[in-house]
Symmetry: C2
Subunit: 730 residues, 2 copies
Amino acid sequence: MKTLTTLCLALLCMAGLPAQTISGFGPGEAQKQLELESRFDAQLSADNLDAWMERMAARPHWVGTEAGAEVARWMRDQFESWGYEARIDTYQVLFPYPKIRLLELTEPTQYTASLTAVPVEGDPYTEQGDALLPSYNAFSRDGDVEAELVFVNYGVPGDYEELEKLGIDVKGKIVIAKYYGSWRGIKPKLAAEKGAIGCIIYSDPKDDGFYQGDVYPKGAFKNATGVQRGSVMDMPLYPGDVLTPGYGATADASRLEREEAPTITKIPVLPISYADAEPLLQALQGPVAPDAWRGALPITYHIGPGPAKVRLKLEFEWKLQPAHNVIATLKGSKYPDQWVIRGNHHDAWVHGAADPVSGMVALMEEARAVGMLARKGQRPKRTLVYCGWDAEEPGLIGSTEWVEDHLEELKQKTVVYINTDGNGRGFLGAGGSHSLQSMVAEVAASVADPQTGVSVKERQAAQNLVSGGDGSFELYALGSGSDYTPFIQHAGIASLNLGYGGENAGGEYHTIYDTYTHYKRFKDPDMSYGVALAKTAGRITLRLANADVLPLDFGPWHQTLSKYLKEVMETAVSMREDALKHNELIDKKAYSLAADPRKSQAAPTKKTPAPFLDFSPLQNALASLQKEVDAFAEKDLNGLPEAKKTALNVLLMHAEQQLTSEDGLPRRGWYRHQIYAPGFYTGYGVKTLPGVREAIEQENWEEAQQQIGKLAGTLTRMKTYLQKMNAITP
Amino acid sequence: MKTLTTLCLALLCMAGLPAQTISGFGPGEAQKQLELESRFDAQLSADNLDAWMERMAARPHWVGTEAGAEVARWMRDQFESWGYEARIDTYQVLFPYPKIRLLELTEPTQYTASLTAVPVEGDPYTEQGDALLPSYNAFSRDGDVEAELVFVNYGVPGDYEELEKLGIDVKGKIVIAKYYGSWRGIKPKLAAEKGAIGCIIYSDPKDDGFYQGDVYPKGAFKNATGVQRGSVMDMPLYPGDVLTPGYGATADASRLEREEAPTITKIPVLPISYADAEPLLQALQGPVAPDAWRGALPITYHIGPGPAKVRLKLEFEWKLQPAHNVIATLKGSKYPDQWVIRGNHHDAWVHGAADPVSGMVALMEEARAVGMLARKGQRPKRTLVYCGWDAEEPGLIGSTEWVEDHLEELKQKTVVYINTDGNGRGFLGAGGSHSLQSMVAEVAASVADPQTGVSVKERQAAQNLVSGGDGSFELYALGSGSDYTPFIQHAGIASLNLGYGGENAGGEYHTIYDTYTHYKRFKDPDMSYGVALAKTAGRITLRLANADVLPLDFGPWHQTLSKYLKEVMETAVSMREDALKHNELIDKKAYSLAADPRKSQAAPTKKTPAPFLDFSPLQNALASLQKEVDAFAEKDLNGLPEAKKTALNVLLMHAEQQLTSEDGLPRRGWYRHQIYAPGFYTGYGVKTLPGVREAIEQENWEEAQQQIGKLAGTLTRMKTYLQKMNAITP
């Protein structure tokens, strides 16, 4: 029966392909690869994912816990049992544990925040009481402050502009900001820049609670007591261990003093539930918040400042903790020094069934299947490295330290890094280096969606069409928020981030409710999307591992870059037009005449209109790149002799590194990629062409022009690099 | 001192004018008119408005109450004391008074709605207990129904399309709809068309409660117990007395049987507070409502149907009640048979300090000042008719019956009808016939805004600029919602509607909280905008009364019509494109593939794409109208001899009537105007070029083409009419 099943699966799989070709493979090799992929599929078992999730998410296992170390050891043993060389690479990283958490409303009434999420009926994991990590924001500094409260919406730059218009200053105040609207770490960073002395972050039920759907345990959403934990380390400066910027946090590494560490927040920060936020917000007076700021609590949202006054006292135990990265290697049969790296983190804020275990078990099942095939003689040509990262939650620490520690070797040997993290039911989401877009699209067309039976590419296209798009397949650009960051943004390694979702919304993220019970009810009950993820990431991994010529396609990459340049140019123009329009309205006294005299508002001040920037260096660089991109697309790669293929592959695997600069982005040299970076004031949210774009957004025109020149230089070097590749001819 | 004050005021007023010219007046006459206007201004006293509001809003005074009759008699006496011939024209109109109001949640839990707004501290008017009219929707039919509940958002056509997509049918159910999103009467009308057997309307705190601002008595907004009363008569069919469609409800008029009256609702309807709505909505299950449907109650909004089941029992006392219209006339010195009519209603749902008394007292102060000037020898050339309408609230009844009763005389003699209603603080809002746009803009430029000192036109322009507009002055098109409707839409009399607002938001509308106390705290505390309204409406009235040549300008009218035609043509195109796109997505299975298989959804069905309509008759009619409009604009009107001016005026005052048709709009012949009508499915909201636009929106393509022909005929007749005016030459 086995052969028949395999054949059927193979036929099923091939049915999804437009033709029996795969980028990077000659015709005969493609056929072999497709057969390999169907045998790979046949190995995958949803039951394994289910059993492993139940085991790995049984106990809270944040970095430094015995539960976490035990998970790492067990994973290592699993990989070994599947034929991998597996080890644990441990780093010693600073990690704060909350000792004192006090939040009180002291005026005009008294209220002490409970800071405790309640256990719920039907989910025994939520009853583990003291074993649960108290809710907090890691890398908040210690502090004891008391001041009037100000509601600052999401606490992002636009919100402070709005406050300025209203004449409200947060200097010396404690701000309360909603989660969402930016990565959480932006909120205390910006609040401190504006002079606030403390920061409270809460989950508003509009974004993350009953407004979205029934709350846990009736439904999947956040109940009144749930609190989102999370790091507030200044990751846009650099992620990873706060004491060892740019190098591995080995046991004997030299370390900054904690007081010097620039990525610890400047003010104390605490996350709270909406049950704890309501009395605080209710006690505010002052202007009614703008419509877009109001949440779903049954109150009138006022901004303050005061009369509400709060005291926030936080004290942490600051200790070095061991971060255990599990590293499992399967040496390549033909190119052992060319590595395809797959990673997912294993540490969780609490149980972490969804985040990260759902992605981790898919990775493990993928690795197990690959190991089985290798044992049966189908060892991949390139080396595979499967990684289980520790300490991702507090700030991508495990992966960052490992990448920093092995930087030169990784830059030399890595073909691609493929990341996964939490996974759920729905649509394929794929982000990454745009030279990989075509090959990911090919893979997406060959994986069947578990619910509808069409390919996951077709299902994603349907969603895109219904949302008004043109149904085309595109990778999103990578900002930050998971372990791809050190690979792509620091090491310049082409990277991907993969996951399914969109039909598994809930409020469990980083709370005590992210449990196996919750996952099985609301996320991916039969683990079929976990299997789909293993198929998707597994195919990508295996194709990159076995390709005759690495399947990089610079056409979509060039198109995407051109689109980014257009956006940036339009931003500069519209900022100029907006400033001119704004100044004209001031000249016409329109703001003052339109304002309600009974509401206090600050007089608007004139803006300096953006000068006309010279974008021609970038336009010319992209235009001359176009020729080389077209020439490469026309090459008959299959016709190259073996040795030239090998030479070309060495160039291809280092192409992404041409897009980095040694000195990195202004004021944050750790970020070396010139095309993708997390935003300095968005956190996770990506800024493409970041040097140019952020200088424009921050109205630093001189720097914008410099960065245009720098980026044009990078693209010109890329052109030369492509010329080198084009020079390889039969 | 008096002369000096007058002179200063005159200078102040003139300073706002670009030049000492006024449309419709020769140079010398313009000067006299400006002097008259400054004397008029000098007469106006905010104290009068204040004292009269306190008196008129002292007691609830809905139609048929002794308090209402007393207010009418007192107003009549006031007008008489100012030199007017004043009378009360009484009609006998059907008016329902609520005897039984019962709303119970019967499953899965029990709750009986309180249906009672609470008195509040600091506002003695809210404590009048039994004197207050119980909250209800006038012209709901009697009924006693029990069924499962369905939440239908605002209960407008788009909401039922959404329900259809979700596979939810309201047949045999009771619907609960939020106020807003349409005029309230649309909700039961549409619900009945869809097969529902009962309708509950509630004020969601998102639109009308704590979400908007602090609630009464702390702030101006609706507290949890406030209920908006209001008529649900099918006014888009015909307004006014339900038993006497198209003719006056005189004591001896023939009347329909109540059972035959087509404008009484087909199902029982009751308005409730958000305190009463919360238990009902909370008891619903079924799909979570789409994001745009969710309000500000602290619940997850589900659609149902059920398990919530409600019983709704309503019984009314149906009686003929006397509606007392106060009619005060000041005979014109030169053209007694040319009438400028000013009107505002005097009946209120409860005390009605804002609605309608704030507008009524401005009208009265205007009339008093005009009366004073007339006594001093400055009697207007044309006849002024000041009207205080009764029974506006239940369905524009007083004004409609009066217009129907005097239809031929009014069509013959009326120059313009100028309406006001509730007034507040902020910006001038002016709607009406676009041939009056230029003259209203001239007046707006000559009235000073009380808070900023610039002209009300300049302040409105500032607001428009800040909101992204170009700062130009435009009249909005009249739909329905106040007493201009019978004048413009039935009689074809050029009309205006004027009021200030935008800085007086609150939740008192049609509740027990619309009191003098509330008005003085939150609306127009010093009555300065009441005075501004008297100045604005007074100038318009006096200019129309004294103009040598009536200041109608067909240029803006033609431009506005061209804009409407463009909109309608674009609607047809985009409906076609949307249908084609929709059908393409069905062909591609995009909807079914994008849908979450765990959520029940109805399979979308294909749409018939709009055919290409022949708009050329309208385009040609507008093009040939353009020539006549231009020719009229170039005429030297001042150069006409007196007799020809008189002849021209007679044509001008009947110009608007050329835009009506005797047989009216399809299926609602009462509405005769071919350019403006309230929407059949929006209620108050205007539909311009209604015959064509609504046929297109309702996908009745044959009728759309017919209506294009009909409207083109109307415009061609208007061209001939303008030719007649252009033929009058010196």
